[in-house]
Amino acid sequence: MKQLFSGPALATFAAAAVMNVSAVLAAQTSITVGMQLEPPNLDPTGGAAAAIDEVVYANVFEGLTRYQADGSVAPALAKSWTISDDGLVYTFSLHSGVKFHDGSAMDAEDVKFSLDRARAEDSTNAQKRLFTGIASVDAVDALTVKITLSNPDGGFITNLAWGDAVIVAPESIENAKTAPVGTGPFTFSRWVQGDRVELARNPDYWGDAVALEKATFKFISDPTAAFAAMMAGDIDAFPGYPAPETLPQFEADPRFRVIVGSTEGETILSTNNKAENLSDVRVRQAIAHAIDRQAIIDGAMFGYGTPIGTHFAPHHPDYVDLTGGSAHDPAKARALLKEAGAENLTLSLKLPPPSYARRGGEIIAAQLREVGIGTEIENLEWAQWLEQVFRGKDFDLTIVSHTEPMDIGIYANPDYYFQYDSAAFQGLIEDLKLATAPADRTRILQAAQKQIAGDYVNGYLFQLARTGVANARINGLWENAPTQANDLTGVSWSD
């Protein structure tokens, strides 16, 4: 749409607008970041919502270790650590002079408190499984912590980098849900519920000082509103921007920069492997051949996304491209259905709220209709989806993006909602736990990818892209999303 009005008649209004702009120019040290979902609370150790981490991870709270922009794990509150030869005892030495935002010192007792709290019987930590391998946590001295595991776990250092494993203080944890107190470079200022969270620079930060003085996270759930807010300049950056269809407009506009990165989200057409008809591998294979991945990526994500043929991230070095085994082939799909004696199928297709699911669902329904499979689409909210699909297993098909990193192991659990029960695959995962040599791990991981692709467990669609928009003068935002976070520690404005 072109500029609707122009000309000198609007000069007065333009002057007013310019005044606003200059006010913004003077304050180059604040940023307003858009987020689609508002966090329900601000305690990352007491809730699963990704939105919590997207506000506080690395900004307000820190763990012993942390994720970096490239997905690697680096030391954070822990300066260094040693691992005993049997892989059971981890000894961390902590940075000295670290203070919580309330002024109290962060020491080994706080680490012990945080980890013991997370793994306790009555813990409400959403990722309690990260801590189940811990046998004991001991504060050796003020700056040394010894953690003993019950079994060796090569992923333990990574586990500690999760937002659910940040270090909190016993004095302030009571109010962390509404007034979080961490050790990070930003302190919590205030939360206008339903609208925004404001953070301010922590003057007493133990590490490198950050460039920003003030950061505001503003919550805009509606994609249209997000577009409007970005275009109107109300928002400086929207890292998880929800309307990919409008990205070409931002690309064409010199005021903005479009950031496209990868996520850990394998987006799949989850199939209930125990459902009538769908327990027949031929029917599942027919569905796989009925799907035109590129049409879904184009139609639902406007071209953003990488086709996948199995449940594995394409940017992982061990990834195998198996898309050829489930290429778009309606004729073959129809033949398979005929062979299976399932020619007049009607399947339920239950769709959670994200647009990849809603739009993708409409496209898949049309593609399945091409091969003679009818669908009944039902749009669900997340709460209903969790209850009906994830826990109740009352579904035939659903579309969801599995955003946890390296989660192929879910296929070894026969009770997982898509109910894939394969002794061969479970054996592979058992082998993987024991394998330590990189070459062995690669071989097993690739075999696992092939196993589920060959069994057509689910329809493998695409790896979710992370599409973001930002003011062109902002530097240092994360491109990819190795974990859910809006790390602002490296963000600054250029002139």
């Binding site: 749409m1 249209t224 275009m231 269809e245 139609g299 496209i363 329904a365 049309a366």
Partner: protein, 274 residues
């Protein structure tokens, strides 16, 4: 003055007829199938092939609007039907029992339903039963009921005071028979007018519910959802959001004009007053 009355009615009926015709035609024929997606041909402007262009899935907009008319009209009609089926008997009953316990109960119940925030309850209903066209109908229908009950009661009370009713009572007819044989026909015009207005409100309500994703589910096209699905594209494909908006406006306008025209035409009392 006399020339204006038919004009409102004529314009209103004409507008309404266009959309009803489009909806009926869509039952047997649409220019293109609305189920078939063609991603490669998406977001096209108007052309000879697609008279109103295509949407973000490459579907023909004209066909979508035609089927959307069907959804909107069907939902609104059934919702009005529910409102009438429940509200009119309640209103008749209350009027027949004027000043009695039943009357009081019906009116209190009416106030109670009116006291509930309609949109919130509609959202709750769809949260309980899942979003679907049927549940949208249910939600809209429930809130139509007290409207019809009130209008019926008001109209019926006026008729009860008239002499021919007295005559009927004297001849020994029961309350139920009088209500059905004498009262109902005399308030029919009132109900038709109210029905038209509720019909137009129903179209708006369905659009609103679909807009927040709680109305008819895909692949069934609905104007409200077409609007919601396409509004992020308003800056580069404005026709996607503008066309269903105009369709809603034209239909509601048509129905409102029809209702107004009918009221003036059917109710001589009001005609005099205007």
């Amino acid at each position: 003055m006399t020339a204006r009355l038919p004009l409102t009615l004529v314009v209103g009926l004409a507008l309404t007829a266009v959309f009803v015709a489009a909806a009926l035609l869509s039952l047997v024929w649409t220019p293109h199938a609305v189920e078939s997606l063609n991603i490669a041909a998406r977001l096209q402007p108007a052309s000879a092939e697609h008279l109103l262009g295509t949407d973000h899935f490459g579907r023909d907009m004209l066909s979508m609007l035609m089927v959307g008319a069907r959804t909107s009209i069907a939902v609104a009609i059934v919702a009005v039907g529910i409102g009438m089926a429940l509200g009119v008997p309640l209103g008749l009953l209350a009027a027949a029992n004027h000043g009695g316990v039943i009357d009081d109960l019906v009116m209190r119940g009416n106030d109670l339903v009116f006291a509930f925030p309609a949109l919130v309850i509609a959202i709750l209903i769809t949260a309980v039963f899942g979003p679907s066209a049927f549940n949208a109908i249910l939600a809209i229908g429930i809130f139509n009921t007290p409207v019809f009950a009130r209008v019926t009661r008001g109209g019926a009370l006026a008729v009860w005071t008239q002499e021919f009713i007295l005559a009927a009572r004297v001849s020994g007819k029961g309350v139920v028979r009088i209500s059905l044989e004498h009262i109902l026909p005399n308030i029919a015009s009132l109900l038709i007018v109210q029905g038209t207005i509720q019909f137009s409100l129903g179209i708006l309500a369905e659009a609103g519910l679909s807009y927040v994703g709680l109305g008819a589910q895909p692949p069934l096209p609905s104007w409200g959802r077409m609007l919601a699905d396409s509004q992020t594209m308003i800056s580069f494909a404005p026709h996607l959001a503008v066309l269903p908006g105009l369709a809603i406006i034209a239909t509601v306008l048509g129905l409102n004009l029809t209702g107004d025209g009918l009221r003036d035409h059917l109710d001589p009392r009001l005609r005099r007053r205007r």
